[in-house]
Amino acid sequence: MNRDEIIGGIAIFLFGMATALLSLGMPIGTFRMAGTGFFPLCLGILLMVLSVLFLSKLFFQGKKVSVKREFVERHGSIKQLTFFFGTMVLVTLFFNRLGYPLTSLLLMVALLRILGIKRWGLNILISVVTAVGSYFLFVKWLDIPMPKGWIGL
């Protein structure tokens, strides 16, 4: 899986470069009166240097795997992962509009389905209990302000 490490290294290099470039657009100042961009510029450059060091170490070490990875190599379905994450994103988009109880309900229903709870009865039961339960626990009992949404809860 050296390929993953290389991609990682390059990603970090790009991030460092972006930081350095963006900081140049800010006042750098002097050591006496360090400007806003001073620190990020140093960091960006440092990061670029380190990632180059890292990548060159990888190349010189060749095929030798330096880190024993515990990450499971067999992948589950990418589709499942995408749907899961996608649901989280969608729900967050409507969080304020729908209000907390509805959002938590929808979230649970969707995620449970994606992960394979095919029986709707079980799905709805768990989702409702969780949503109602957390609503009462956090909003009613602990008095924590949560978005009210259009049904006004």
Binding site: A34, H75, G76, L81, M108, L111
Partner: protein, 502 residues
């Protein structure tokens, strides 16, 4: 000193009234619940409940609020162990080995050792508070911007590689963390940095969002990416006698607990995010001291016992500057300051002499609180451990709901939830590319302070770098950093020459 003991005894009398015991109990229970919810840390919990204390006398009020504080600390580690979701900032380190222990079916011992370790650390902390408070508080004042900078540099270098895997990679993660920490308002000039016009980014990225995202959400995503059959399982279910620590576990942990208690106490006295630093330091110490360092990261019980004890004593030590100097060194103690003020008690140099009953009563109740939490939490261990029995198909969505809710409660901001998701994705990638999250989080916490201290020092000294070397405390830390960096290289050179020669 003898007088202190007498007053402590009086304090215990005050703290042990049925009324105050009850408030302590309520505080502990509420605190644990709050702590379990990620994000909703002690700060929000205490702030929410201050109005509820208005009808109480100051002593009882503070006793209850303090109970919430430790309760939250306990609760925070529960989710770290069970779900890899840091309940609050100081629980990040607990995720590393605690979660691994749970995955191996050892959630019970992990949870229990947290309770036991914290209790022992709390006891030691009480003695520290009683006997060392005033002189230590004054010592903390000697930390000005240059000392603070050198301390941060030292902490940063030493603790970046807290998990001991690739130093280079940890350093890279740390720098990334530093960069993320610069987003927001430049603390010195007040200008916006990397905010791209968003008002939400003006305050920087919420630490909790990154912590829950990288650790909690990242873990969930990694789990989903596994083959489908694994989702039907819960985690290995331990047998009854494996629910609590074995004698061997206790033997291994006691050293860690004691070391954690002492180091945590010292660190807690320093201004700043002491509990977080205390946990990282303790982990580092344990890893260095252990005869089996390779176990760390895979479920070493010392990696849980030490940091959690350090966390507890750091929290206790944080009260010293508050009570003795009247200055809160962190956000939680700041709220306590507020609570005290609202009740008409102004902490400061005069507080102990003007309100001895309050001071000693609260100290005594801290001890009682620790005890209550121990007996409250130990029986709950099986209950909590059983949560892991839930098949992952159901557990994972619950975790997501849990994280989202908790995240929102920190700032009532949906933007934070977005950040959490973003860092969740990043956490997933980090696992794929084998990068550690702990250095990043540490850098996120220390970074802004590091930069501020650096610039403040130079402003005070008119650009003269000497300021870092001419002051004793500062130069000690800088030297220590240099030694720390150079030492492994020197040792390597010696090893090589020995090998070459022999």
């Amino acid at each position: 000193m003898f007088e202190s003991l007498q007053q402590l005894a009086t304090g215990f009398t005050i703290a042990s009234t049925v009324q105050n015991l009850l408030y302590c109990l309520i505080g502990c229970i509420v605190g644990t619940l709050i702590g379990v919810l990620p994000g909703l840390g002690p700060i929000a919990g205490i702030a929410l409940l201050i109005p509820a204390t208005f009808s109480l006398n100051p002593t009882s009020a503070i006793i209850m609020l303090a109970g919430i504080y430790y309760g939250a600390m306990y609760g925070g580690s529960t989710t770290s162990i069970l779900l890899n979701v840091p309940g609050e900032t100081a629980s990040v380190i607990t995720c590393i080995d605690g979660y691994q222990m749970a995955q191996k079916g050892r959630a019970g011992p992990a949870l229990a050792i947290v309770a036991i370790g914290s209790f022992i650390a709390g006891t030691i902390g009480i003695f520290g508070l009683v006997f060392l408070a005033p002189p230590l508080a004054e010592a903390a004042l000697a930390f000005g911007p240059p000392e603070y900078f050198s301390l941060m540099v030292f902490g940063f270098v030493v603790l970046s590689n807290v998990t001991g895997k690739s130093f280079l990679k940890s350093l890279m993660m740390a720098i990334v963390g530093l960069i993320i920490g610069t987003i927001g308002l430049d603390p010195v000039t007040g200008d916006a940095r990397f905010t791209f016009g968003s008002i939400y980014l003006l305050g920087g990225i919420e630490f909790v969002a990154v912590a829950i995202g990288v650790f909690g959400i990242g873990e969930v995503l990694v789990n989903i990416n596994q083959p489908s059959e694994l989702l039907d399982q819960g985690v290995l279910m331990p047998r009854l006698r494996e629910l609590y620590p074995s004698f061997q576990d206790l033997k291994k942990s006691i050293g860690a607990i004691l070391r954690g208690a002492v180091s945590g106490f010292g660190i807690g006295l320093i201004p700043g995010p002491a509990p977080v630093i205390a946990t990282y330091t303790s982990y580092m110490i344990e890893r260095r001291v252990s005869k089996h360092p390779e176990e760390f990261g895979k479920g070493a019980i010392e990696g849980v016992a030490g940091p959690e004890s350090a966390n507890n004593s750091a929290c206790q030590a944080a009260f010293i500057p508050l009570f003795v100097l009247g200055i809160p060194f962190g956000p939680v103690t700041a709220i306590f300051l507020g609570a005290l003020l609202i009740h008409g008690v102004s902490p400061g140099p005069l507080m102990i002499s003007q309100h001895p009953g309050l001071f000693w009563g609260v100290i005594a109740s801290m001890y009682i609180g620790n005890f209550i939490l121990l007996i409250l939490n130990l029986p709950l261990v099986p209950l909590f451990a059983n949560i892991l029995r839930i098949p992952k198909r159901i557990l994972l969505p619950l975790v997501i709901l849990f994280c989202m809710t908790g995240m929102y409660t920190v700032n009532n901001s949906v933007f934070d939830i977005w950040m959490m998701l973003l860092f969740g994705a990043m956490g997933f990638l980090m696992r794929k590319w084998a990068y550690e999250g702990a250095p990043l989080l540490l850098a996120l916490v220390l970074g802004p302070k590091l930069e501020v201290a650096f610039r403040q020092s130079l402003m005070i000294s008119h650009g003269n770098f000497e300021v870092f070397i001419s002051r004793p405390i500062s130069i000690i830390f800088l030297l220590a950093t240099v030694i720390f960096l150079v030492f492994p290289a020197v040792r390597l050179i010696f090893k090589k020459s020995k090998k070459g020669g022999g």
